[in-house]
């Protein structure tokens, strides 16, 4: 995985059902990406949070998943390792008819703030 243990560490895995999991992650303030995003102020790249959602979905399913479609992904607040050192990544999946893809609904939030909401379709095949 691109970001696991490099950009975040999983602190706790709450598998509520085979298709619904909540991952408590800690953002790693020394992650390499912050050298460039941005040199004077560490801000989580929104796309890293999208990638984190995918990796949590992969941990839940135990399968490599491909991001064929993002119907809508809203970045509702700016996340930084200082502002939100701990985050819940809530991933809910619904298989499509032939089980070749999952409809995904995911949210990244802490107790106070929602940082990202995503709806899309992740495919099992590349």
């Amino acid at each position: 995985m691109l970001l696991k243990d490099k950009f975040y560490k999983v602190q706790q895995e709450n598998v509520l059902s085979p298709l619904h999991g909540v991952y408590l992650i800690a953002l790693l303030p020394d992650a390499d990406v912050y050298r460039g995003h941005f040199p004077h102020k560490a801000v989580c790249p929104g796309v890293c949070n999208i990638e984190t959602i995918r990796e949590c979905a992969e941990m839940l399913t135990g399968k490599k998943l491909f991001m064929k479609t993002i119907k809508q992904c809203r970045l509702t607040a700016v996340a930084t390792p200082q502002v939100c050192p701990l985050l819940d990544v809530d991933v809910m999946l619904t298989p499509n008819q032939d089980s070749s893809a999952y409809i995904i609904q995911a949210r990244i939030a802490d107790a106070e703030t929602t940082y990202m909401e995503l709806k899309g379709e992740f495919s099992v095949n590349n």
């Binding site: 691109l2 390499d32 941005f38 929104g46 999208i50 995918r54 491909f66 119907k71 809203r74």
Partner: protein
């Protein structure tokens, strides 16, 4: 080429390891074209040597950012910092491989209260590999 190499840093605030635009190729009216060569060292290259889909999103976002930066720089204003507010209708048709050159067309759309809609389409050798809509917040840092 309007901007390339070190000069692209005048247009976007991102730096290594997450600089995802090599060049602003052209800019006219509401449309610009950018390029990115996919190198092995690219931040988004996965174990299978292909680019992760969020890398395409970041490339399209930084292409829009370079365009916004260019529009300011030619007017003698500082390049703005933009944040992605929303990604909508993103499709990835093929993940780029090392050695591919991404050619991206950005079209700026409606702007309301500092939020601009852009559309981006990325091709490799004429084949569309990804397209998306995006909304960018422009903030004064």
């Amino acid at each position: 080429m309007l901007y390339q190499g070190e000069d692209i840093k005048k247009l976007i605030p991102q730096r290594d390891p997450i600089m995802m635009v090599d060049a602003l190729v052209s800019a006219e009216g509401d449309v610009c074209k950018t390029e990115l060569g996919v190198r092995e060292s690219n931040f988004f290259i996965e174990d299978d040597q292909l680019m992760s889909e969020p890398g395409l999103i970041e490339h399209i976002a930084q292409s829009a950012s370079a365009f916004a930066g260019y529009r300011c720089v030619v007017k003698g204003e500082p390049a703005p910092v933009g944040y992605i507010g929303e990604v909508k209708k993103f499709h990835c048709y093929r993940r780029p491989a090392i050695g591919d050159v991404l050619s991206t067309t950005i079209t700026m759309g409606a702007e309301v209260n500092g939020i601009t809609i852009i559309t981006g389409e990325t091709t490799v050798n004429g084949e569309v590999v990804a397209d998306t809509q995006m909304k960018i917040f422009t903030a004064d840092e």
